[in-house]
Amino acid sequence: MGDLILTMKGIDKTFPGVHALNNVDFELYKGEVHALMGENGAGKSTLMKVLTGIYKKDKGTITYEGKVVEFSNPREAQQAGIVMVHQELNFLGHLTVAQNIFIGREYMKGRRIDDARMIEEAAKLFQRMRINIDPTEKMSNLTVGKQQMCEIAKAISHDAKIIIFDEPTAALTETEVEELFEIIRELKKKDIGIIYITHRMDEIKVITDRVSVMRDGAYVGTLISKDSTKNDIINMMVGRVIYEEPKTESKVPKDAPVVLKVENLNAGRFVQNVSFELRKGEILGFAGLMGSGRTETARAIFGADPKESGDIYVNGVKVEINSPQDAVRHGIGYLSEDRKRYGIVVQRTVSENSTMACLENFMNGIFINKKKENKETEKYVESLAIKTPSVDQMVIDLSGGNQQKVVLTKWLIKNCDILIFDEPTRGIDVGAKSDIYKLMNVLVKEGKSIIMISSELPEILRMSDRIVVMCEGRKSGELSIEEATQEKIMHLATMEI
C-alpha cells in the first residue's frame, strides 16, 4: 500500500425527504482495493456519485492527490483520473471493441478516423492486461464478462488513478470472475486505487485489502479484510445477526400433489425437452450456469416468449399458455431477473405497481377504488418492510431491494399459487435478502409453490426442497436437497450431454 490518494471527509447530501449521506468519511490508498459495503439504499452509490461529480455535495471536503477538488461532472472526474465501471455497462453494441474504447477521442488521420491505429492501441492495451479480446469484434458479440473487461480497458486507457467498480461480478461466470480478479491484482501493482462495491461476502477476503461499511447513509466503520469475519461485516451492515444454515431435509411430503407439470418443453436453443414437476408447498431450485436456459424455460412456461412444443399441466389439468395473460389466469406469477426492464413501471407509484396484475379487484364500477388500492398496498408495505415515504411514491425513487419487494407485492396481491422467482436476490443487500428468504418460507407454508432460479449455490442449497440443474438448454439432472452438494450441482451444470 502506498500513499493516501483520496480522502472524503464529512460528506453530507440531502435529497427532498431523504438524508442520503450523513457525515460520511472515506479514504483510499494507492494500490489498495477498498471494498464498500452496505444494504441497498445505504448510500454507497450516492457517495460514489458525489465523488465523480454526478451529484453536488452539501457539505464536506474531497481531497484528491493532496488537493481539495470538486468535480462538476463525470467527465471532469475522468480527466482527473477517477473512472467508474458501472454495474449496467454503457457501450454501443454495434461498434467494435476498439471503437468503443476510444469513443469520443478517436485517433485521427487528417479528417478521417484512423481505425487501424485504434485497433493497434486496443490490442496493446489488452496485451498489457493479459486478456484475449479481438479489438475488431463487435461489442454486442462479447459475453458480459468480456464487455466488462473492455470497460476496464477503457478506464485504464484514461490513465485512471482511481477505478470504482460497482458490483462487477454480479453477472460474471466463475472463470470470468477469476480473470477479473487477476486484472485487479495487476492494477494494484500499478499503484491504482480501487473502490470495490459488492454484495458478495466471499469476495472480500479474496480480493480486497480493507472494507468500509455504510448503513442508512452513515459511515459505520472500516475493517482490515483479512482479519474480519463474514459475521463481523454483516453485523456492521444490518446491526443485527442473521445467519441461516443450509437446508438439510425437505419437509414437503413425498406424495404432495403436483401443482405444475411441464413435459418436453421446447423453445429455441435454450429450452430443449425440459420436463419437471412442481409439488404443492415446495421450493424447486433451478441451478445452472449463465446461459444454461433457466430464464428462457421460465419465460416459455409463463408465456412471455413463444414455445415450439410441450405440454403444461396446472393441478393435473392440461392448459394452453400462449401469453402472460393466460399464465396469470392459471395462477402463475413471474418475478423477472431484470426488474427494471420486466418488473416495475418506474413512472408509476408503489400502489399502482402493486395492483398491476389484478386491477379488476380494485374497481368500483368503471372507476379505480384508490382507497382500497392504497389500503391493500399499505398492508404489504408494512409486512415486507418496504422503505418508502408513502404508497404514492414513484417506484423510480426506491432502492433496488425495495423495488424488488414491490414486484413481489404485485404477485402476492394477485394471490398466485405458483410463483417463479428468477434470481430474486440479485443485486440485493443482505438484509433484504433475508427478508425475501423468510417470505418465501412463509409462502410455501401457506401452500404456495415456488420455482427459484438462482446462480448462487449457497442460496440454492439454503432454500430448495429439490433442485433441477440445467446445462446448455437441457435439464441435466435433478437432486433432492438431502443428496445435493455444491460439487454435485456444479458437476451437473457443466456436464456435456
Binding site: 427532498p16 409463463f302 412471455a304 401469453s323 402472460p324 395473460q325 399464465a327 396469470v328 389466469r329 413471474y334 423477472s336 426492464r341 420486466y342 418488473g343 416495475i344 413501471v345 418506474v346 413512472q347 408509476r348 399502482e352 398491476m356 396484475a357 386491477l359 379488476e360 374497481m363 368503471i366 372507476f367 379505480i368 384508490k370 423510480i396 404485485k410 394477485k414
Partner: protein, 327 residues
C-alpha cells in the same frame, strides 16, 4: 424555485400548469396592447372557434402519446370525416343526425385501423399514422371527386348543427362549444386518471413489457388509445364544420402539429407515461389565442406556424430539462 414548487397548493395544481396559465395571460395581455380591438367578446368567440376542433384533436392524441405512441393522421382524418359526412349530407341527402354519427364513425374507423396495426402488428405508430394521413386525404378526394364540400349555413335547412358552438341569446351568444369541450376534457381527465384504461395507457407508456408480464392484455389497451383518438378526430370534424362550414380535400396536416403541440405544451411527455388533460386544455387555449392574435395584429398565418414551432421547442426543452434533473 424549489420552495415554490413544494408549496402544497402549487403541488396540487402543478407547477407546469401555473406557468402555462401565466403564459396564456401574458400572451392575451400582449395582444390586447398591440392588436386593435382585440379585447372583445366576439374576438374571444372567434378564437374559440379554433379551440373547439383543435381541443378535441388534442385531447384524443393525448391518450396516444400517453401510451408512448404518436398519431400524425388526426388532422387529415378530421378533414376526411368532415368531407365524407358532408358529402353524404349535401350530395346524397342523408339525414343530418346520421351524417354527424357517420363523421364520428369514420374517425373511429381510422383510429381502429391505426391501433390494430400498431398494437397487433407491431408497426411503429410513426409509420402507420403517416400512411393513414396520406390515405385519408386520398379517400376524401376520391369520395367527393376532389370537390370542396360546404356544409349548410345556420339559416338553411339542416343548419341547426351550427348551434353546437354557439347559440344566439338576445344580443349575445352563449358559447355552447366551450361548455361541451370542458365537459369532454373532464371526462377525458376521469378516463385518464380514474379508470383502468387510463391507468394502463400510462403504464404501457412507461414500461410496456412490465405491464405485459403482469398479465395485462396490452394489445387491447394500446389499440383502444388509438380508437379514442380517431373518435375524437371525428368529433373534431363536426366542430370544424360548425365553425367554418367549408372543407377542402387534401389538407389538414397542420392541425396534427398544433394538436400535438397543445399536448406537449401541457406537460404530456413524448416519451410516454406522463400526461395531463388540464395541461392539454390550456395548451390548446394558448394556440387558439395565439392564432387569433396573430391575425388581429395583421400578420399572416405563416407567422403563427413559426411561433407555434418555437413554443413547442421551448416546451419540449423544459420537459427534457426537468427530466434530466430528476433522474
Amino acid at each position: 424555485m424549489y420552495r415554490i414548487k413544494q408549496n402544497p397548493l402549487v403541488r396540487k395544481i402543478g407547477f407546469n400548469r401555473i406557468v402555462l396559465c401565466l403564459v396564456l395571460l401574458v400572451m392575451y395581455g400582449f395582444f390586447a396592447l398591440f392588436a386593435k380591438n382585440f379585447v372583445s367578446y366576439n374576438r374571444l368567440l372567434s378564437a374559440m372557434n379554433y379551440a373547439y376542433f383543435l381541443g378535441f384533436l388534442s385531447l384524443g392524441v393525448t391518450f396516444v402519446i400517453a401510451t408512448g405512441g404518436i398519431d400524425f393522421s388526426i388532422g387529415p382524418v378530421m378533414f376526411c370525416s368532415a368531407i365524407m359526412s358532408g358529402y353524404l349530407l349535401t350530395h346524397y341527402k342523408w339525414p343530418l343526425w346520421i351524417c354527424l354519427i357517420a363523421s364520428v364513425a369514420i374517425g373511429a374507423l381510422y383510429g381502429t385501423l391505426n391501433g390494430y396495426l400498431v398494437a397487433y402488428r407491431d408497426v411503429p405508430s410513426f409509420i402507420t399514422s403517416m400512411a393513414i394521413m396520406q390515405m385519408s386525404k386520398g379517400v376524401a378526394s376520391v369520395f367527393t371527386k376532389a370537390q370542396t364540400v360546404s356544409w349548410p349555413q345556420l339559416a338553411e335547412e339542416n343548419g341547426w348543427y351550427r348551434n353546437l358552438i354557439k347559440v344566439k341569446a338576445g344580443n349575445t351568444y352563449i358559447p355552447v362549444g366551450l361548455i361541451i369541450l370542458l365537459v369532454a376534457a373532464i371526462i377525458c381527465s376521469i378516463i385518464l386518471n380514474k379508470t383502468k384504461a387510463g391507468r394502463y395507457f400510462l403504464s404501457i407508456g412507461s414500461n410496456k413489457e412490465a405491464v405485459r408480464l403482469s398479465g395485462v392484455n396490452v394489445k387491447k389497451w394500446q389499440m383502444l388509445a388509438y380508437v379514442i383518438c380517431g373518435l375524437m378526430a371525428g368529433i373534431a370534424a363536426i366542430f370544424f364544420v360548425a365553425a367554418y362550414t367549408t372543407v377542402q380535400p387534401g389538407y389538414g396536416d397542420q392541425y396534427n402539429n398544433e394538436a400535438i403541440a397543445g399536448c406537449v405544451m401541457g406537460g404530456t411527455s413524448m416519451a410516454g407515461g406522463l400526461a395531463s388533460i388540464s395541461g392539454t386544455f390550456i395548451g390548446v387555449m394558448i394556440i387558439s389565442i395565439l392564432q387569433e392574435g396573430i391575425l388581429a395584429i395583421g400578420l399572416n398565418k405563416n407567422y403563427q406556424l413559426v411561433i407555434t414551432g418555437l413554443i413547442v421547442i421551448a416546451a419540449v426543452y423544459l420537459d427534457v430539462m426537468a427530466r434530466r434533473r430528476k433522474y
